[in-house]
Symmetry: C2
Subunit: 328 residues, 2 copies
C-alpha cells in the first residue's frame, strides 16, 4: 500500500497516544484514580492489575487488543432490588397496555402481573417485549427511562448506576481496555442507554435475546421482535455469549451473583494475569444488603469459593465512598 503523508500521520498518532496512555498509567498515583473508591486492598488490587498489564517492560504485559474486561449489569453496574429494573419496565408497560386494551386487562396472567405477581413475569415479557419492531421497542424503553422512578429510591432507574463502577469503566478504557456488558438482561433493552449511561456502545453489549426476523412492511424493511426466547445470557451461557460476540477470552470480569460464576471462572482460568471481582451488597443503609437468600441476585457459591479461586469481593459498605452517580 502506498504510504502517503496523510496515512503516515494517521498511523503514527495512535502510537503517540498509546505511549501517553502507558506513561500516564505508570506515573499515576493511586490516590488520583477511582476517586469514589476507598483506599484499601480492593482498590489497590485493581490499580496493580492495570499497571501490570499496561507496563510494556513487565512480564505481565498484555497487548491492548487482548485487554477485554466484562461486566455484569444488574447488581454490578446498577442496582437490582427489589426486582430487576427490566422487570419493572415490563410491569409498567403491561399496566399501560392494559389501561388501553381490555383484552390485555382480561388476561389472567397479565392481571396478576399488573398487581405485581412476579410469577407472571414470563408471560408479561412475551407480551411487552415481542410483537414490535426493534425500533418501536427501543423507543418504548427510551420513554420509560425518561419517566419511570424507582419505587423506594425515587430516582430514575438510569440514575441508580454505581459511581465507583462507572469510574472503573472509564479507568479501564483510559488504559486501553475494551469494556463489555455481559448481562442476563435483554440486549435490546440495555443498548438503548448503555452509551449514555456507561459510555459503552451498543456493539459491546451482550445479553439475553428473543428471536427476531427481517420483514418488509409496505416495502420498508423492519426487524420484528418475536415473542420467543432465543438466548438466556446467564450462568454457563455467559462464557458462550462472550465467545459468540467477542471471540476472545476476557482478562478481567466483574459480577455480583452466582449467575456470573462461570463468567468469572472462564475469565480467570486463562493463562497470564487475570482479575475476577464480585460486588458484595452489604450496605442496607446506602443501597441494599443481600446475598445467599435473595430471590434476585443470589450469591452463594461465589461467596464460598471466591477465596480459593483468587477472586476479590468488593464490599459496597467498605470499598465505596459513594454508591450512586450524582444527579446531573
Amino acid at each position: 500500500m502506498q504510504m502517503n503523508g496523510h496515512r503516515t500521520r494517521l498511523h503514527l498518532l495512535p502510537i503517540a497516544l498509546w505511549a501517553l496512555v502507558l506513561a500516564g498509567a505508570s506515573v499515576q498515583a493511586a490516590g488520583e484514580t477511582l476517586p469514589s473508591w476507598n483506599e484499601g486492598a480492593t482498590k489497590a488490587r485493581i490499580v496493580a492489575f492495570v499497571q501490570a498489564v499496561t507496563d510494556p517492560t513487565g512480564k505481565d504485559y498484555v497487548a491492548p487488543a487482548a485487554r477485554v474486561a466484562v461486566f455484569d449489569n444488574d447488581g454490578t453496574l446498577w442496582s437490582e432490588q427489589p426486582l430487576y429494573f427490566q422487570a419493572a419496565f415490563a410491569f409498567d408497560t403491561v399496566k399501560a397496555m392494559a389501561a388501553r386494551d381490555p383484552a390485555i386487562a382480561a388476561n389472567p396472567a397479565l392481571a396478576a402481573a399488573a398487581k405485581g405477581d412476579l410469577n407472571a413475569l414470563v408471560e408479561v415479557i412475551a407480551i411487552t417485549h415481542g410483537n414490535t419492531t426493534s425500533d418501536e421497542f427501543a423507543e418504548r424503553v427510551r420513554q420509560w427511562t425518561k419517566t419511570a422512578r424507582h419505587p423506594t429510591l425515587h430516582r430514575r432507574y438510569t440514575e441508580l448506576t454505581f459511581q465507583p463502577m462507572r469510574e472503573l469503566l472509564d479507568y479501564l478504557e483510559a488504559n486501553g481496555f475494551s469494556t463489555w456488558i455481559v448481562s442476563g438482561g435483554g440486549v435490546e433493552f440495555m443498548r438503548v442507554f448503555s452509551q449514555e449511561v456507561y459510555g459503552i456502545p451498543p456493539e459491546r453489549v451482550i445479553g439475553s435475546s428473543i428471536k427476531t426476523k427481517y420483514e418488509l412492511r409496505n416495502g420498508v424493511p423492519v426487524i420484528v421482535r418475536l415473542p420467543e426466547i432465543e438466548f438466556v445470557d446467564d450462568k454457563e451461557w455467559k462464557p458462550i455469549g462472550i465467545h459468540k460476540a467477542i471471540g476472545k477470552r476476557p482478562i478481567a470480569a466483574f459480577g455480583n451473583s452466582d449467575g456470573d460464576f462461570q463468567m468469572l471462572e472462564w475469565t480467570t482460568s486463562g493463562p497470564g494475569p487475570r482479575l475476577g471481582m464480585i460486588v458484595h451488597h452489604d450496605d442496607a443503609a446506602r443501597e441494599f444488603a443481600y446475598d445467599r437468600d435473595s430471590h434476585v441476585g443470589k450469591l452463594e457459591r461465589g461467596l464460598d469459593e471466591a477465596g480459593a479461586r483468587g477472586w476479590s469481593l468488593i464490599s459496597v459498605r467498605n470499598d465505596w465512598k459513594t454508591v450512586y452517580t450524582p444527579r446531573q
Copy 2:
C-alpha cells in the same frame, strides 16, 4: 468525576486525532487514495461518500459512532471459486481424518466428499467442524491457512484477498468508520485470520455458527463445538446477524452475490447518506467471471435491481488495477 491532569490529556487527545482525520479526509486528493482502483465512477462515488459523511460542516455528516460499514467475505474480500474456501478446508480436513481413521473412510458420505462431491458437504462440515473445542478448531484452521494452496491459482488461500478491498477497509478505518465482516462463512473460521489478513478484529466478524456449550474437562473450562447448526448468516438473516451483533444499522454495505441482497437493502433503506456496492466478477483473465448461473456466488436479483436501488456494481475488470494482494 474528578478531572485530574492525566484524564484531561486523555480526553483531549482523541478530539485532536479526529480533527486531524477530518482535515486529512477533506484535503485528500482522489489520486492519493485507493491506489489499486482505476479512476472512474465507482472510485469517485466511494471517495465522495466518505468525504460527505466526514465533513462536519456538510448536511450529510455522520458521527463516527454511526459510521458502520459491513462487508461480505467470500467473493467480496477474497475469491470464492471454484468453491468457498471454507469448503476446501472441510474437504482437506476430512481427507486427513479419513487417512488416519478407517471408520471415517468407511462413511459413504465422507467417501463421496473425499472424492470432491459437493453434496456431501453438509455432513463433512458436521464431522470436521463439530466435536472439538473452539481452541482446537482454531488451531486446525491456523495450520490449514499456513499450508493449503488453491488448486488452480497455487497460492495460499489467505493470499487470495482482493488488494482494492483491503485498501478500501483501511481507507474507511482511517476516516473513522468501523468495518465489519458479515459473511455466510463460519465465524470461528474467519476469526482465525481476520485480524492478520484484513485488520478486522474477531469481535467485528459476524458469520454462521454452530452450537457451542461450556464444559469442564478435568476441572478446566472449555468451549465445545457441537455438530449442530445454530445460525446461517445469509440472505434475510444478514440484517438479523448485524442487528444482533452491532445493534445499529450500517451506512455502507459491500457484497457480491444475492446472499448479500437483504444486507444491502437494510443498509441503504435507512435515512441519510447510504452506500451499497456489489463486486461483479467479470474478469476471467485475472480472477473468475460468473454471475447469474454460478453455483457459488450467484448474482441475479442484484444485477437486475442494482440500478433502481442506487447500488453500484464494482467491475473487477474495469475498476481494479490489481486484483490480489501482493505476496509479502
